[in-house]
Symmetry: C2
Subunit: 449 residues, 2 copies
């Protein structure tokens, strides 16, 4: 018999970590289980994907974040199954962990509308590994174009396609345009990187659709100032190596990035309760699952309507609030007090677009351009975990702002990974006559003849 109740938390993202923080050094035993050893500050992932920041600058070991909490044990492992009757979590290595309370906060990934095979050609951005893979593809595309131009004199226009104009898609498109026009321009000699096209495809009729429509319009205009082509009402229906389809039209693209759709962690389905189309668990007002008041689902995995009838959005502040609220409910219950229902407090939202460009809705006011961008910078540094990370990221930004350099421009990976990335980038669209002809041409490039 344990002397203290044990709370098991699955996931060290914003939801799980905030729950753990609220339980730190309280009279409970906590085990936090995550597949990764690190918490990632997801709002800055796109900066790793676009070579502004290094992976280590936006991530911190979970056990380091929680080292001060004597009652929290952090375990590297993957939860694969739950036994709700006996209160047990099964891990991938066969071990089992019992709990009195369970908080499932395993997050979400991108959804490919039933076309999971697109992921290989159009990676999404949820983990550090994703970010490094995107960085590799973007940088490799420029390298391959330079090699072609230098050795054979063939200049081809690069096209980067981003699918989905939510915050991530807008950030990626804006940052890639920035790279092409500024950071890389002086380093490439055979190609003019600023001629690269960046096309943002959005199925709906505006970008950043959760913002007020005049801010959406401003964001679109700011994107276009950066050189991004924005295609609204353009629902992508097919992706193949080297091209994608919108309606009946194929577009040649060297790199495709996926930034739309949400699929909650499959652990939600493992719980055996009702889920919505995106795999989110329909939770009770206190975030527990129906019939099992000691099991909670929070963050991007949870589906809950606010009093307004709107769903709680899948954003990091909501996950943090859910984590804290759940921890408090458990502590209340242990003291014999009743639980409180969860209420989401919307503190506003902001989206960055590029250098000096952003939009924000805060305190009931709207901001755009440089002022919104400064607010975005400030808030993201404040919320970044770890003083060292804040210091280094601030310095990194300052450096990037002054020099327009992108300092983390590493193409890494073993030979096979690089070959895979090359395969997609070098694949040439069958619909594209000129490049098909080029593909068949001899590859002996001698400029000395």
């Amino acid at each position: 018999m344990r002397s203290k109740l044990r709370i098991v938390i699955i996931g060290g993202g914003f939801g799980g970590l905030w729950a753990a923080k609220a339980l730190a050094n309280r009279p409970v035993d906590v085990i936090l289980i995550d597949r990764k050893n690190h918490h990632v500050f997801q709002p800055l992932l796109y900066q790793v994907a676009t070579a502004v920041l290094s992976p280590g600058e936006i991530a911190k070991p979970i056990r380091r974040i929680l080292y001060y909490a004597k009652n929290i044990e952090v375990i590297l492992g993957e939860a694969v199954e739950f036994d709700k009757a006996t209160n047990i979590v099964k891990l991938d290595d066969g071990s089992e962990v019992s709990f009195d309370y369970l908080i499932v906060a395993a997050g979400a990934r991108h959804a490919y509308f039933g076309h999971d095979e697109w992921e290989t050609w159009a990676p999404g951005l949820k983990t550090l590994e994703d970010a490094v893979e995107i960085r590799r593809r973007v940088l490799l595309a420029f390298e391959i174009a330079e090699r072609k131009a230098a050795l054979s004199g063939v200049k081809e226009q690069l096209t980067f396609a981003v699918v989905g104009a939510g915050p991530t898609g807008v950030e990626l498109a804006g940052a890639i345009a920035g790279i092409a026009r500024q950071a890389l321009a002086s380093d490439f000699k055979a190609i003019d990187t600023s001629e690269a096209r960046v096309v943002l495809f959005e199925g709906s009729d505006r970008v950043l659709g959760t913002f007020a429509s005049d801010l959406s319009d401003s964001a679109k205009q700011q994107l276009e100032e950066l050189g991004v082509e924005v295609r609204l009402n353009s629902f992508v229906t097919e992706i193949e190596p080297g091209r994608l389809k919108v309606g009946d039209d194929w577009f040649k693209c060297d790199v495709v990035l996926w930034a739309t759709g949400v699929a909650a962690s499959p652990l939600g389905a493992q719980l055996g309760v009702e889920t919505d189309r995106a795999g989110r668990v329909k939770v009770e007002p206190d975030l527990s699952i129906p019939g099992y008041p000691n099991i909670f689902v929070i963050g991007d995995m949870a589906s809950l309507l606010q009093e307004s009838g709107e769903p709680v959005p899948g954003v990091s502040p909501a996950a943090m609030q859910m984590g804290t609220a759940t921890a408090k409910n458990i502590l209340r219950e242990i003291k014999g007090r009743p639980r409180a229902n969860f209420t989401y407090v919307d503190k506003g939202s902001m989206a960055t677009i590029g250098r000096s460009k952003a939009i924000a809705q805060l305190f009931g006011m709207k901001f755009r351009g440089f002022i919104a961008w400064l607010m975005w910078l400030f808030l993201h540094v404040v919320f970044l975990i770890g003083f060292r990370n804040r210091l280094f990221v601030l310095m990194g930004w300052f450096w990037a702002y002054l020099t327009r350099e992108r300092s983390a421009r590493l193409i890494t990976g073993d030979a096979e990974e690089l070959r895979n990335a090359l395969t997609f980038i070098e694949a040439e669209s069958p619909a594209d006559e000129s490049s098909a002809a080029h593909r068949d041409s001899p590859r002996r490039h001698r400029t000395s003849a």
Copy 2:
């Protein structure tokens, strides 16, 4: 007909890069070809492997380093073959590059004494990918031990084995001991990380054998002060998952790192001239290859005796000097002046061991301990490429020194990579009775019974 002579450089390490710098904005055309897009400052690789620095802090895109050189084109690609008769380099993608002068500077890797199969279990440290892999294995070993101890109460002593007590082996052993005793100690709750063993196996009778013998003795003592067990005259004859053999004795080890032996790039053999046992090309006194005065081999790929009868050592200052000398010889020849033979200038050497611990031979004097360590820090920051890297590395060191933290403690990689790393770490020695028994025990770990 080209108006200017073309110099092709294979490799953007110290040799190739210093050759390129000496040719920058001179009246020649230069093409530098490397498999990676970045130059790595190899002397600090072990700090990436031990989570002090991030990969981006010790590497910089080669084309960024050379952006100011209007006459240098940097190409991402792998040279696979040479045609000495027609002066052509063939790349892996089938393209061909012609040259008037060729400088081959493709470096070396570790050699496994004919046991290449050991590499999987005992990775070496030459690239950023190697460093990240070593970091992953070292950190994973602690995570797995923590999980076992927390979920099943089984505490096993971790053993890290480093094979070879040259500079890299000494740095790795010292840094891992530092991690175990200081950086991780407060973050792990079920295990005491400071109990981990770090064993340094060396086949000869002293560590850092290229230094004076009293400095070797000092280095051994400094290693032991850090908690490293140094085993001299211990030639490793067999490596299997989870264990290694010295003489007739098997040693259980959770992680094995390889830091001995040299194998020059196989490109040396492609040149069709005589090579030594390590695959190094025996070069003429001007670093050209016999019979082909327009083809040079430099750096770790070159085998050359000094006037003293000693070989030029495979260290970065030698590679830099060879690069500069070769570039100057080519420029001289273009002006109709004779070539000069290469002379290696030994400016001394230093090796770091751990926090406040190092040895150095400089200006004919010997240094050890804190003063040698300060000199090491100073010189390595000075030679690091890029002002931003210097600034960030200095700050990172300052932070690590003050807090004893290791900030780059990320375990990254896709699921398969992690499974591979786990396989080696979790493999248990058949010779080890107790762990064999443990392996067969049921894995149902309930502490709540």
